[in-house]
Amino acid sequence: MINRAANRQANKIFLRACIGTAIALPLLVALPHALSVYWQSVLVLFTINAVSLMGYRLITTMGGWSFAHISTAGLGAYTTAVLTTLETPWSFWATFFLGALIAGAFAMIIAYPVLRTRHYYFFLSTFAAGEALRQCYVQFSGITGGTYGISFIPRPEPILGMDFGNSTGFYYLALALAVVVGLLLYRFDLSRLGNTIKAVAANEELSESIGINTWALRTLPFVMGSVVAGFSGVLYANFNGLINPLDFSSVLMFKLVAAAIVGGVATFWGPLVGLLYLTALEEVFRDFTQWIPLLWGVSVLAVILLAEGGLEMVIIRLVRRARRWWGSPGDRPPGGARQRR
């Protein structure tokens, strides 16, 4: 009974999110037409990063902050880069799914050892595994082009009359992926399975003692998140046209981690707010590129030391205060929760 009620509740929230997306979609579709070419490419990269970050947030729900996410995305990128620049090139659409599959397979292989570790220990082992994978991109220059990487990666061939040669067309592809991945992951987050994963993260021993397969529930989000990373890597390679190992370095990994910390990971949209903030920072200080990791680092320190929970908590608190101000009855916490203040 409780399950069915919870499911109905989840469906209701999800429906609201779908309606919200449907309303926002025309705006998002019109957006590139209002922007210069430069800002269009910023928008495309933001959308690709957002996809990757949604996968990352899924991984964090199981309690582990992977540091191999960007290197895993690199597997997708190198898959498409290698196969679409062969003498008899593969179709982009084939490599699109193959790249994601390879990223997922890599995650599944390293899942057994790295998921034996917890917390920051997990962070370390994934950091080492990810960095070793990145070193492979440098070292196996016969396949990956070494430090020079691979260039002349073609844009996806048109389908249904859609041309992906320009930034606007490519943006629609990235946006379509972001919307599909976003809605699927959001529904997953609301589902019983998604909640069980969070329960395992909160207390693994207790979850195991009531018969939950904690092993599977830690592997599943790790692999799913890595598949999403693979998709984002494929798009990145095709959008940029050239890739090299520096595109998957720890600075970019730090950007994702920083987005998740600055935004917070308790809500689905928290990391995206963080990414928006970091990207804005990057564009404001566009002429001072070398300072940017410092600004990100300072933001992370400030959030950890001063604003626990990240921007999402700040926003939630502001919204609550605004609602109380307007006297909206809908948001009163049930029972005597208020009285404790």
């Binding site: 050892p113 034996r116 994978l133 070193q135 070292q139 720890s250 730090f254 410092l294 990100w296 680092g297």
Partner: protein, 287 residues
Amino acid sequence: MQIVANIIFLSTFYVSFAVGLALVFGVMRTINFAHGEFYMFGGYALWMLINAFTGILPPGATFIVALIVGAAVVGILGILVQLSIFHRLREQPFSIFMATLGLSYVLQVAVVKAIGPMGQSVPAPFPGFILFEGMVLPIQRLVVFGFTVVMMGGLYLFLMHTDLGRAVRATAQNRTGAMLQGISMNHIALTTMFVGSALAAISGVLMGSVLIISPFMGGEALWRAFIIIIVGGIGSLSGAVVAAFLFGIIDTLMTTFGAGKFAPMVDAIIMLLVLSFLPSGLLGARE
């Protein structure tokens, strides 16, 4: 025989870098991500002092001054980090970890802006070679090896034969037990951060005399150090030394026999295998 010499040189590098990280982890139960940047500061301390004292002091003497000054300055920096980050976020190891991750980028960019992103190298303070039994032994490398042995010996004496060292070990073994004995956790944390950071700086000065000094040298060394302390068993100093020699042997042999490009992959696979079958590492205590 040259291989043996190379193994020893590479292993001393791994030992000197990883041991400070392992010490801090053992006591604080968290990783100081800025350890790599502290190491980099050691390298720059050597570079700056060599530039400042050329013609005033012999390079060998400058090298020793750099060891002392670098260790002291970075040790104090470690104390500042302890007071501003570790102490404020105590009981939240994950937040400490993320905060030091942020800090490491702050320090890295600070050095890039202050000195420049280009790598620097210093002339060897102790130049020359010794030819011995068909081995070519650069004197600077031997000096680095000697100082690493001295550093490890000093750390051993400190931990095993002083009251403060015993208190540090007691804290690493059992926090509550140590507290019940009247050991001040704040005091131990400050000591550990000072010693751990000073070790990073000493390692940086030593390695700065043979490697290229750049703002990114810490990050490059860090992931190897993570592999070493994971394989050795997190928090175990002896485990870190054993693993450092293990990887010194493996990496040197692979480079010598032309398989150097597989080294990062093989190292990572060894780490993953160790995690699969011995999750607490070679010599780590079960948690």
